[in-house]
Amino acid sequence: MKILRIIGIIIVVGIVLFVGLAFLLNQRPSSPFDEVAAITAPQYPVEEASYVARLADCVACHSLPGEAPFSGGLPMGSPLGVMYATNITPDKATGIGNYTLADFDNAVRRGVAKDGHRLYPSMPYPSYSKMTDEDIKKLYDYFMFAVEPVAKPNQETGIPFPLNMRWPLAFWNAAFAPTKVYENKPEQSAEWNRGAYLVQGAGHCGSCHTERGLAIQEVALDDSGDAYLSGALLDGWHASNLRGNQATGLGRWSEDDIVQLLKTGRNKHATVFGTMLEAFNNSTQFMTDEDLKSIAVYLKSLPPHGADPQWTYDDATKVAFAGNDMTAPGASLYITQCSNCHGRDGLGRGALQPPLAGNPTVIGHNAESIINILLNGAGRMVVDGVPDSYRMTPFRVLLRDDQIAEIATFIRSSWGNDAPAVTAAEVAKLREDTDPTSDHVIILNMR
């Protein structure tokens, strides 16, 4: 009897504490702009305001192709169910037209909507929380005064009850979403700090390039964690390793190479593709040269993650081709299907046809991106408003799973490349996952 009573008391006290904590955590957070009077006219030149929106790449997720920018609707998959990006145009009824600067700040940096509900962390507020007050003010300016209001109601998520309750997200936030603006490291240069600010904050590079833990949280939100930006799987792609690994990261890239990729979509090592295409088309190509240089300086300061095998070019493959030696599995298919663009030497053609020899994506441990791009090709890169002429073609109709596996294995083990083989089963799985008519097609997760 006594024990039961004690247990009962513990349970009651536990429930009271839990409800109390949930209540406290679900309070409206405070914003430095709480006392700011309503803003009725732009405070910044529109170029400055729109530049912050470019940095944060809001348009990539909050828009659907062919529909008004920022009017929402893009479906995003999650283990719980599908969710839809919202209308963030200044429409008063369906968008964020009634948001004050403080409301806007709470949504962007703390993941709390005006009505108090918690946003899903597919909105990268754990990264945006590092943005400065001034950048948030500019962003607010942009959305209130530069974006056309569009009346388009938000779509309900496809997440079933009880998982669709938002209040438990406050616990997630308490554990995984810091709310501290980026602080300059005095021992680093101004350029490095600007780069760190852009990469960790508005650029939210880690949303794709950092692996996620059990609670779908990024395992590191800055360079204090050595898995930060070390590459991660998402949406059937493997976002590449941006750390200093010689073979599989940016170890062989110069700062100028990084700037060139983010500015033009290409350099002598690689070409943007997959979900990075969205980031390039909508965001990085619009950044100033100084900001791109800062990003390069910061990324080049990240040491390798884990083992760091070295890659060197081996011309044995080229010699075999010259002697019409097609004994290596996949060699014959490579000649017929791939060599026209990537060359028998695997070196591509300047900056326009990417090399396969030593390409970090080709020799990365995870072959997801290689299989995906072989099956589905690359999307269209648009530079300065001009769609580009060089683009990977899809082979999903032309080649069988075993043939794609053979080609992938061949390019991962030629010209000095030394990455694990790819199986037909892996290709078959991704083929089905990326088939628009399949009942479990991959839809965009987080980017």
Partner: protein, 152 residues
Amino acid sequence: MAVNLMINGKATEVDADPQTPLLWVLRDHLGMTGTKFGCGIAQCGACTVHIDGVATRSCQFPLEAAEGVKITTIEGLSADSSHPLQKLWVEFNVPQCGYCQTGMLMAAAALLDEIPNPTDADIDQYVSNICRCGTYTRVRAAIHKAADMMKA
């Protein structure tokens, strides 16, 4: 940007954006329309030329990579249509509509340079050009005959 090209043994200067595909440099800037546009994505082979002797699809070959290499187009395969393949193409009535055939000839010629006596498998591998009229069997027969002739 001015780029110096070596086309069919002749030094040629072209002023064009370095990203321009070689196909359009040939056709639009130099008026060499023997090389055809088919798909634009290096799949069909209608635009095949030789780069340093290797059959290459010019629609995906950027001008910036064309400096310092030897380019041969259908106009340069022979001075007077006397290449054995060109003669056999007539004799065997290989072309039907003909659109893909300049690329087909260039791929076949590069193959015979590399492998003087190709098997059917070699032909399939190196001449992956696509023909809407389905002239493949005549293409194959003409290549085999040319190999015999060139051996003799």
